[in-house]
Subunit: 190 residues, 2 copies
């Protein structure tokens, strides 16, 4: 998606010798709703004929784009909660997610009543890198016996293994901007 690539070039900032991309001026701290609307529209163009009944994302930075996209799909949005608590009463699906940014493992959690076997679920997230968060969400969709339609991602770091690994497993992943490489010389898209 040209609009997003251009925005990343214009307002994204590379830190730590080009190993970290900061997009917090428009994507995941301050959020540009004009851009979000265009991204939501694009996700709907890509997945709109798949009979999606629910969007699933994970707190916190996926919620905004999922809600804007949800307006185009006209379906509810569920966000998985990050939790350190255990599933004590069996009323929630949980999956462990390894955090590469912060280290350690956390749980993502969705109440069982909000994902049903008849649901056709589209995952939405702002970033895909190692794919750990997405795998957690996929596990939850599987546990619910629901159908996974695919994943709509804003920015994929295609030089990290998550996207390829999940596509090899048969997951349809559509990323609006795919970064081939980034470094001190800047960003190259796929």
């Amino acid at each position: 998606m040209k609009l997003l690539e251009e925005r990343i070039r214009k307002d994204g900032r590379l830190r730590e010798k080009g190993t970290i991309l900061k997009v917090d001026s428009f994507l995941n701290h301050q959020m540009d709703l004009v851009l979000f609307n265009e991204m939501g529209k694009e996700f709907f163009r890509l997945f709109g004929d798949e009979g999606v009944t629910k969007l699933l994302t994970v707190e916190a930075s996926g919620i905004g784009i999922a809600c804007v996209a949800g307006q185009y799909f006209n379906v509810p949005v569920v966000f998985a909660k990050k939790s350190k608590t255990k599933n004590i009463d069996g009323s929630v699906y949980t999956a462990p997610v390894e955090s590469f940014t912060h280290g350690g493992v956390y749980e993502v959690m969705v109440a069982k009543e909000f994902l049903r076997p008849e649901d056709r679920v589209l995952l939405i997230d702002d970033f895909l890198a190692n794919g750990a968060a997405l795998e957690g969400l996929i596990s939850i969709v599987d546990q619910a016996g629901a159908t996974l339609v695919g994943a709509g991602i804003c920015i994929e770091k295609a030089f990290q293994p998550g996207g390829d690994r999940l596509r090899a497993q048969g997951v349809r992943i559509e990323s609006l901007a795919r970064i081939k490489s980034m470094g001190e010389d800047g960003i190259e898209f796929c």
Copy 2:
């Protein structure tokens, strides 16, 4: 707002002898975007002539409604991050927030570059009870030297002290549903 009150009566669930109101089927776990749009429209009706330049909310459950409302105001949305880290490089505003739900104190944090003295800021959140989160956001707006326009709240527990205390300080608070009392017999709105 009748629509929200009716929805709370229909789908809200009282737990723990009526002391806890669960609205996670439409507000803060699964999110009903049709309802969110009506709420966003109502916030714009209430605050649309105030020259708002930015909406400010706090992760996670305020983000969805703030993003939908942001489309009507046509301004960016900033969400304060909850953080346990200290402000080491001076690039962020922070404020302590006491958590009554989980106990303890956490920090909310906004990067300085996203709040400017010329900004006119409307706060958005899903719940107002003790007012601790809202006070943290107000402190951040003050630190930035920006103008606080007010706060748009989905559900206010009017029997708890936050709303009255903040209104007494001159903050304009508009809550779409104000709960006067709740208990084993049900919910009464103001």
